[in-house]
């Protein structure tokens, strides 16, 4: 933690190497968060780059009132919501494009003879990813943070700046929605 503070001070002074050290722990986390939020790898990379640029530019405003990790996630959440809003405008064009891998089933069976259980399991992962993609951002974000990235309720409340009670009900509703959606598809 002390080391993190040191890197932050150096990065605030414009030291890029220190900044890279500082964010090296978060690169994968933030990329995966953005990937689950957008369900699109290219968007996820663009967003992750944007997030770190924003972090770099605004580092001087980071006073250490919240944890650095929480602060980065908050920036990432805002970036993803922004992206979602922009994408919504052209939704009729790009809705889930690239995710509906319709040929996937047949290829999987013919080229790659996996045991039946494994095929079913892969299908389920694909389905749940689609279901996550269809959730509203506020539900999506709690599911990703809680169930994929293992953050505690308190940390999620801090990241999203919402009361603990709201986090609890969001997680509960999001899981219920996913369960219903999954039942509908399997």
């Amino acid at each position: 933690m002390d080391q993190e503070a040191l890197f932050i001070e150096k990065a605030k002074a414009g030291n890029i190497s220190a900044f890279e050290e500082l964010i090296s722990l978060y690169e994968k986390k933030i990329y995966n968060y953005c990937y689950r939020m957008t369900n699109n790898r290219e968007d996820a990379e663009d967003l992750t780059q944007d997030v770190f640029i924003k972090v770099y530019r605004n580092l001087k405003n980071f006073k250490g009132n919240s944890k650095f990790s929480t602060w980065i996630y908050r920036i990432a959440y805002n970036a993803c919501v922004d992206k979602h809003r922009k994408k919504k405008k052209i939704q009729f064009f790009s809705l889930d494009s690239g995710n509906h891998d319709n040929t996937g089933n047949t290829q999987l069976v013919s080229n790659n003879p996996l045991p039946e259980d494994e095929i079913i399991q892969k299908e389920r992962y694909k389905k749940i990813q689609e279901c996550i993609a269809n959730l509203k951002p506020k539900y999506k974000t709690v599911i990703i943070l809680r169930d994929i990235q293992n953050y505690s309720y308190e940390e999620i409340a801090e990241i999203l700046q919402m009361p603990l009670g709201t986090v609890k009900s969001h997680i509960s509703r999001a899981r219920a929605a996913l369960s219903d959606a999954l039942k509908g598809t399997l």
Binding site: G14, I16, F19, E20, E27, K28, Y31, N32, Y35, R36, R41, E42, D43, E45, T48, Q49, F52, I53, Y56, R57, K86, K87, K89, I90, F92, F93, S94, R124, Y125, I128, Q129, I143, R146, D147, I148, N150, Y153, K168, I171, S172, R175, A176, L178, S179, L182, K183
Partner: protein, 296 residues
């Protein structure tokens, strides 16, 4: 515990967030209520499935690309620290150069209008003389009818009002009047671009080949042979068109467009320099990054 409370507690129970008494209560309820147990099992399964999703690796070259952007940021903040810099750290000198360029364009346009005005007056008098002795077909009626709808300077449309459709046909065959017909079509073109801006850039328009000659997405790659084509050289061209420059780095620059006319003129300009390809995915962004790639 009733079913309603039990359902509310399922998620907290799974996460171990309940206090001891609530925990015992829900366990007792789940043992006796088959429906709630089924729901519990479903939610538990979702949680397990989500936990198994795993993490993707960051794409190759991610750090390198980030480094380039960070260095560009560093340069910008250094430069703006030297010059005047707004509260938001924005790039004020670019704005000033842009404003100077805009002013130059305005002065030039006013001068040009003066010249056009004289020319139009000459054209009108020629039209009138042509009207006296003409008879022909009405083939260009369509284009004639559309012209007055466009937001054109009064003297121009006045010129057209004097001429009947058949006279426009005749103008085509006369070189000096042909020029004024062209002006009319240009104005029409602008009207169409304006409509596009109003409705936003939609994919339908993207597939329309006739309207394909402008920048559509947020990333444009420009492949050039000439080593002299750099973001900084491109900047001077861009400022001519009063396009906002947001960011410049060693091989790209980010612009902000206010209308489709700017997208069109810049596309034309870029095409003269090299091969242009629209590679971005965001079709709604006003900010566009031009990436210059030098072919070896």
């Amino acid at each position: 515990m009733d079913c309603k409370t039990a359902r509310e507690f399922i998620t907290l129970y799974i996460d171990g967030m309940l206090d001891e008494s609530d925990k015992l209560n829900i366990e007792a309820h789940l043992e006796e209520c088959r429906e709630c147990y089924k729901r519990f099992a479903e939610i538990k399964e979702v949680v397990t499935l989500l936990g198994e999703l795993g993490e993707e690796n960051v794409p190759d070259g991610f750090s390198k690309r980030l480094r380039i952007q960070l260095e560009a940021q560093q340069q910008i903040s250094r430069q703006s620290n030297k010059g005047s810099r707004g509260k938001d750290g924005s790039y004020h000198w670019v704005k000033w150069v842009g404003m100077a360029a805009a002013l130059a364009v305005i002065v030039l346009s006013i001068r040009m209008l003066g010249v056009l005005d004289l020319r139009n007056k000459a054209a009108v008098s020629l039209d009138e003389s042509a009207a006296n002795g003409s008879a022909g077909s009405v083939a260009i009626q369509d284009s004639y009818e559309e012209v007055p709808k466009i937001d054109s300077p009064d003297d121009q449309s006045a010129g057209y009002e004097h001429a009947s459709p058949r006279e426009i046909k005749e103008q085509n065959s006369q070189s000096i009047n042909g020029e004024s017909v062209e002006t009319g079509e240009d104005t029409r073109g602008k009207g169409e671009t304006k409509q596009e801006t109003d409705s936003g850039i939609s994919p339908e328009e993207n597939t329309d080949d006739a309207a394909a000659d402008y920048i559509r997405s947020d990333v444009v790659e420009l492949k050039v042979q000439d080593i002299c084509v750099t973001p900084h050289n491109l900047m001077t061209k861009i400022l001519q068109y009063d396009i906002n420059i947001l960011d410049v780095d060693e091989n790209s620059l980010t612009l902000q467009f206010t209308d489709n006319e700017q997208r069109r003129v810049l596309y034309k300009e870029l095409k003269m320099l090299g091969t242009v390809s629209d590679t971005g995915e965001d079709f709604s962004s006003d900010n566009v990054t031009i990436v210059i790639i030098h072919n070896e």
